[in-house]
């Protein structure tokens, strides 16, 4: 291990990788702001992978993945449009903070928690390296199914005061997510005779249609900028807000650590990735933090700390199934896996043996990415926060142009633009009538995982899955989460009712 660490350090801190990091950093920052992707760095790296040294290609890819995760909360906070799969929950409290003119504070909190989360994720990966394969062998299809289900159920149960709508939306989302080829039998389901739907509903057009169009419409129709309060402070661009956010994050360091551990653990489960991780982290924060049930959703800083810490720690977890089992831990990891093959590196046990130095280098790369990118973003956070005071008629066309380019380039199909428009109309209706939109997105992301592992569990374990200690442990967690979720709902409903009563008495 020591020799491998020394070799990793020598190779990582050599000109090649460092130049690659220097090139990638501004691109990652740019892409973080560009909704729907920006420069597709992974595809570029894949195109050149076979010509690059493995110690440049792979750290560059992992650096980009980690740096991108660090920058993607920006559109979530500033515009209310998810910048990535792992920044949806951040909108719940991040966007209200931006509306209140506290975008700088949100960014400060997000980035410090991202930094700590990323370091915790890297540390977790380093710690489990010797036993990573053994850990993953303990969990099987039944447990993966439960965790996927937990991801979907969590979001539905978070719909304060609208749990029925939340659960209905989750079911609807799951139903439409199952359109297309069945991962079990290969049959095409509910495609309405349209070939475009054979591969199901793609995530990017749905995500952006459901969120971007309603939020941007909101700004244009109300003719207000994103920030409606503290406009002078935002315009002044003082770093005071950012520092305030950082101090708030430090006050909640245990929340950050808890959320990071959740992210690292869930990230290790194949196929799950950042989406369920950050929602579970958000839900646990809401259920465990004092007073959270009343204040989450209104601009509570803890509501951005928890998901972002988890979102960044996931980067360490997802490398476990990818490197050691050749099973991508997330869609981004599928690209990293492809890159491993293209540069001639065998994933699996060799990553812990003859390529241990590369594995360690990748762990350090995650940490390095956070250390490099976060201070840069923090430095520019006050400037970035000024996006919230851009007039809507200036912001709208720029964001729309970026989105349509990114949506089309997902698979170079006009069908994606059509779906984006349809999802936008659906999103407008849902926003207008209080139907939560996140369950649909989560369902699209997790549907295949949930369906596949449900089928595999039923056919391999059958009823004996209920005798597995690991399954029981996760099931208990799911049931406790559901019960706490419902109790939070009842308490919130009582509070709302009593507020309504006292309001009417006045």
């Amino acid at each position: 291990m020591w020799e491998a660490s020394v070799s990793a350090a020598q190779q990582l801190f050599s000109p090649g990788p460092l130049i690659a990091f220097a090139i990638i950093t501004p691109i990652a920052l740019f892409n973080g702001v560009m909704i729907a992707g920006g420069v597709p760095v992974f595809i570029l790296l894949l195109s050149f992978a076979s010509q690059l040294d493995p110690f440049i290609a792979l750290p560059a890819a992992v650096f980009y993945a980690a740096a991108n995760d660090a920058t993607e909360p920006i559109p979530s906070i500033l515009i209310g449009v998810p910048g990535s799969r792992g920044s949806q929950a951040t909108i719940i409290d991040g966007y209200p903070m931006a509306r209140q003119g506290r975008a700088g504070e949100a960014l400060g909190a997000v980035y410090l928690s991202s930094l700590i989360g990323g370091l915790v994720g890297a540390a977790c990966l380093m710690a489990v390296l010797p036993v990573a394969r053994e850990i993953l062998k303990v969990f099987g299809s039944a447990e993966f199914f439960l965790l996927g289900l937990l991801g979907i159920a969590t979001v539905a149960l978070l719909s304060t005061g609208a749990m029925v709508k939340g659960l209905l939306t989750a079911a609807f989302g799951l139903a439409i997510a199952l359109i297309g080829f069945s991962p079990i039998s290969g049959e095409v389901r509910a495609d309405l005779g349209i070939g475009y739907l054979w591969e199901g509903l793609p995530l990017v057009p749905m995500l952006l249609g459901l969120f971007a169009i309603p939020e941007l419409a909101n700004l244009v129709v109300s003719n207000t900028s994103i920030a409606t309060d503290r406009l002078d402070e935002v315009l002044a661009g003082s770093s005071g807000d950012v520092k305030k956010g950082m101090r708030a994050a430090l006050r909640h360091k245990w929340l950050i650590v808890r959320s990071s551990l959740i992210g690292a653990f869930v990230g290790m489960m194949p196929g799950l990735g950042a989406v369920p991780a950050h929602w579970i982290a958000y839900a646990q924060a809401r259920q465990t933090e004092k007073g959270a049930s009343e204040t989450f959703g209104t601009g509570d800083i803890r509501g951005v700390i928890a998901p972002e810490a988890s979102n960044n720690s996931v980067d360490g977890g997802v490398l476990v199934p990818t490197l050691f089992f050749s099973i991508p831990g997330s869609p981004q990891m599928a690209l990293i896996l492809a890159m491993l093959i293209l540069v001639g590196i065998q994933p699996g046990p060799p990553m812990l043996d003859q390529h241990l130095d590369l594995t360690i280098a990748l762990v350090w790369t995650i940490a390095l990415a956070n250390i490099i990118v976060v201070p840069i973003v923090l430095r520019f956070a006050p400037l970035i926060a000024r996006v919230t005071i851009i007039p809507p008629n200036v912001l709208f066309p720029l964001v729309m142009a970026i989105i349509v380019i990114g949506v089309f380039q997902t698979s170079q199909s006009l069908g994606d633009l059509a779906l984006f428009a349809i999802a936008g109309i659906l999103g407008l209706f849902m926003k207008a009538y209080g139907w939560p939109r996140p369950p649909i997105v989560i369902a699209i992301v997790l549907a295949e995982v949930v369906e596949k592992y449900l089928w595999l569990s039923v056919n391999t374990y059958g009823w004996t899955m209920f005798q597995r200690p690991q399954f029981i442990a996760i099931l208990v967690v799911v049931l406790i989460a559901a019960m706490i979720g419902m109790r939070v709902q009842r308490n919130a409903a009582k509070i709302q009712a009593s507020q309504a009563d006292s309001g009417s008495e006045d």
Partner: protein, 410 residues
């Protein structure tokens, strides 16, 4: 001022319109254009019959057919002139990182060694429709030899058996070949924790669980399961790695991912711990040396020779045809109408790519070593013709076994 603004807007719009029409990108599925003129070929000389080689042996009986005195030898194809400074698109119907994408990139990287130095290979991802979109783009591409790509097995097999895909005539498109046509050898193993021999498997009292991606992927075991064999296939696994991980944690009892490069690659401890018990092979047995490392001595039987298996002759005929059809995967093609000399050049280079050592090694890292076996155009067309010659009821059986029966086309 308003008029001025309106005029400015109108002028800018017209300029942009003209600009856009002039150079607004290519359609991923371009409409076919007339075939470009290839290297000029003089009046074709009649094909000479093979003559004995200098060593005295020949592949065909020499005949005395005279070569016409006026025959002009074909000029050598000038690859540099034709492919130089051009970009060859390798269309793949998956997103970046998917199985076929990696495969296309491996081929592209190797191809650059054999094509002119200034020729650039670019992988173009066109996911959608179960890779049907990629297939359509391939078939509709200009027949200039600058577009190629692998066809997903489901579409190739469907076309071989049923032939109902529009404009996908297997006799007219040009098949370059596939590197996973005739695998080197296979072996099916049971977990020693479950059973140590075929007899113990039969005495187990329950079916052995085997993982697969989808129906049609394991024809031999599916056949046996339907004919009373002690197997249950569990579909839905994402690929070899997931199946092996499931076997490793005891979720599955039985696997064919126990060959020298699959098991040795990800789970070398299986062989070391003596966990694998070989039971039979499907098409061709792995080497006896490898079997010996698993502790197996003796001759590995074919699945058809296993005791206790009853086989209906018609089903057997369909199965044998299906086993051939399953070899039609990852087939690289050129669209219909590519000039003969361009095709020939492509084929010559493709032959070199397929046997390139670096390429084979990369395939191994990607997990395809056990599947490796270069299959050429002629061999594939033979299979297609054999399947087409079957009687309709047998072909129906083949379709059902192949798993592409319920596929939606066009």
């Amino acid at each position: 001022m308003r008029v001025y603004r309106f005029i400015s807007i109108a002028m800018i719009s017209m300029v942009l319109l003209a600009f856009g029409i002039a150079c607004g990108g290519e359609d991923p599925t371009p409409t076919p254009k007339p075939a470009p003129t290839a290297t000029p070929v003089p009046a074709a000389a009649p094909t000479a019959t093979p003559v004995p080689s200098s060593s005295g042996s020949s592949s065909a009986a020499p005949t005395a057919t005279p070569v016409p005195p006026t025959a002009t030898p074909e000029p050598k194809f000038d690859a540099e002139a034709y492919f130089g400074n051009k970009t060859i698109r390798v269309i793949t119907g998956t997103s970046p990182g998917g199985g076929y994408d990696v495969f296309s990139r491996l081929v592209s990287a190797t191809a650059e060694k054999y094509f002119p130095e200034s020729t650039r290979f670019v992988v173009q991802n066109l996911p959608g429709g179960g890779q049907y979109r990629g297939l359509r783009a391939l078939l509709d591409a200009d027949p200039d030899g600058l577009t190629t790509g692998p066809v997903h097995s489901r579409w190739f097999q469907r076309q071989a058996i049923v032939g109902d895909i529009t404009d996908f005539d297997l006799e007219k498109i040009y098949i370059l070949g596939s590197p996973t046509f005739s695998p080197r050898g296979d072996v099916f193993c049971v977990d020693k924790k479950v059973a140590s021999s075929w007899e113990e498997v039969l005495a187990l009292g329950r079916p052995l669980l085997m993982g697969a991606a989808g129906p049609g992927n394991e024809p031999a075991v599916e056949f046996m399961a339907k004919n009373g064999g002690p197997f249950k296939l569990v579909y839905g696994y994402g690929g070899t790695s997931e199946i092996m991980a499931a076997f490793d944690r005891g979720e599955l009892d039985f696997t064919n991912r126990c060959g020298p490069s699959t098991a040795g690659r990800l789970f070398p401890e299986w062989a070391e711990e003596g966990r694998l018990v070989p039971l039979f092979y499907e098409k061709k047995p792995v080497s006896s040396d490898y079997l010996a490392t698993l502790g197996y001595t003796g001759k590995l039987p074919s699945f058809l020779d296993l005791p206790g298996l009853t086989v209906d002759p018609k089903q057997l005929e369909a199965l044998q045809a299906n086993l051939l059809v399953t070899d039609l995967s990852r087939v690289f093609i050129l669209p219909e109408g590519v000039p003969a000399d361009v095709r020939k050049y492509w084929q010559d280079q493709f032959d070199k790519i397929m046997v390139d050592e670096g390429f084979i090694e990369s395939l191994g890292i990607a997990g395809y070593t056990d599947d490796y076996g270069y299959g050429k155009s002629g061999e594939m067309l033979d299979i297609v013709r054999r399947v087409r010659d079957l009687d309709p009821s047998t072909r129906e059986l083949v379709l059902e076994m192949s798993g592409v029966g319920k596929l939606v086309v066009n």
